[in-house]
């Protein structure tokens, strides 16, 4: 059975941004702390509620850097599953376009 949004553990998220900051590909190293937080919030919103063109364009653009390597799951201090969150958000972006 495929995993869904309930399996991500979003209620545990502390929005610290470590999932993106420590991406093994280093593709988010240009973002500052609050940008990382906004990115987590945005991706979470898309994963939960779907993608809305205009409002979520910047988040979509940033999420395109993610190639689903999965290292984020290892570094999340709250034991959320950011990999699954990102995967769901990517699907919802595709659906919303």
């Amino acid at each position: 059975m495929a995993l869904g949004i309930k399996d991500v553990g979003l209620e545990k998220c502390i929005y610290c941004g470590a999932c993106f900051r420590y991406c093994i590909l280093g593709v988010y190293s240009d973002l500052d702390g609050m940008e990382l937080k906004s990115l987590v919030s945005g991706v979470t919103r898309i994963a939960r509620k779907g993608y809305r063109s205009g409002r979520d364009d910047r988040i979509k653009e940033l999420l395109e850097r993610c190639t689903l390597q999965g290292y984020c799951d290892k570094v999340c201090p709250a034991m959320v599953k950011p990999f699954l969150r990102n995967e769901i958000a990517k699907k919802r972006i595709k659906e919303g376009e």
């Binding site: 545990k12 502390i14 929005y15 609050m34 990382l36 937080k37 201090p77």
Partner: protein, 346 residues
């Protein structure tokens, strides 16, 4: 939304920081660091996640938590299961370690028996520079066997142990503020860290000394110029700080005098016997040639019982009258609660 600026304002700038290192070791973006003897410094990115604030045992909210234990335990040593007078049965350990080798033996036991994969301990180099260490086996533990009474941020190793070294189960040896921080960690959302802390070994502590002041203290109070590399260990006996050199020479400084060189944050600690630990260990209230051991949780009690049954710890007859010293000191330390009240009025 809290962040390190709240911690700075409420704790660091008021000289309340205990130096436990929890904020440094748990910051998800590795932005907090200790550079010297006082408070952590911020250098990096902050996403205002509030982690540092949530694990600090000295914040406004957590002060209330700490305070709430005071009335119920005013005259006791906190919740416990059993109390023992104990020492190691291994004379090699006793010879090398301090405190009759109890903590060293417990660490040896839990590492040998694979109860934990590693332990956070404190070690020093030959110049008495103290730093936290991740002990993986008994050879590491031996390096930590001398009690230092000198501050080092034990929990700053959290991230390194969990993320860099992928250690699955950890024991922490530390003073009461470290145990309090672990309790805060346990109440936080930091599942990655809290699930890996399997055992808390708390040390009795009245206060802890600042490293940069050791040479100053020895120079001023003893009129001596001692190379730190000649210091074998510190001990506290009969209200004196005992400085023992490598050639076995001993010097004593009255505790009241030595207190001037303690961390200021210790003024806000109301716990002498490490009430938030699984196993508490200390000199106070122990019979001659033994150490006081208090088990506070089922897990802590099971470990001590296993060690006694396995002949790894020797116990003496428990004497309430002798033990009452620990209770008296604990009661006295709880009077520091008034320092919070003073702070509230600031």
């Amino acid at each position: 939304m809290t962040d390190y600026t709240d911690l700075k304002r409420e704790v660091w700038d008021r000289d309340m920081c205990s130096g436990c290192g929890a904020c440094v070791g748990s910051c998800p973006l590795e932005a907090l660091h200790f550079r010297g003897d006082d408070n952590p410094v911020f250098d990096g990115l902050c996403s205002k996640c509030g982690t540092c604030y949530s694990v600090c045992p000295r914040t406004e909210r957590d002060v209330a938590v700490a305070v709430s234990r005071v009335p119920e335990n005013k005259e006791s040593i906190g919740p416990y299961r059993e109390r023992y007078f104990a020492r190691s049965s291994d004379f090699q350990i006793i010879k090398r370690a301090q405190g009759f080798g109890v903590v060293t033996s417990v660490l040896k036991h839990i590492l040998d028996e694979k109860i934990v994969d590693a332990a956070f301990v404190v070690t020093s180099d030959i110049f008495m520079n103290i730093h936290p260490m991740i002990a993986r086996d008994f050879s590491d533990v031996k390096k930590s066997a001398r009690v230092k009474y000198i501050w080092t941020p034990v929990l700053s190793k959290l991230r390194e142990a969990v993320l860099d070294e992928s250690i699955e189960s950890i024991a922490v040896v530390g003073v009461p503020c470290v145990m309090q921080a672990l309790e805060m960690l346990d109440r936080s959302k930091l599942g990655l860290y809290k699930k890996k802390i399997k055992l808390r070994i708390g040390l009795f502590c009245w206060e802890i000394f600042r490293h940069i002041l050791i040479s100053e203290m020895i120079h001023k109070e003893l009129q001596l110029d001692i190379d730190p590399s000649r210091i074998w260990m510190f001990d506290i006996r009969h209200r004196k700080l005992v400085v023992e050199l490598t050639d076995s020479t001993e010097y004593q400084i009255p505790l009241e005098t030595a207190s001037r060189y303690a961390r200021k944050g210790c003024n806000y600690c109301v716990d002498f016997t490490s009430e938030w630990s699984d196993i508490s260990v200390g000199n106070a209230g122990a019979a001659k040639d033994f150490l006081t051991v208090i088990t506070r949780t089922e897990r802590g009690e099971a470990i001590i019982q296993d060690m006694i049954k396995g002949g790894k710890l020797v116990t003496g007859e428990f004497d309430e009258t002798v033990f009452s010293l620990a209770e008296r000191v604990n009661k006295k330390k709880k009077l520091r609660i008034k320092n919070f009240e003073v702070r509230e009025k600031d």
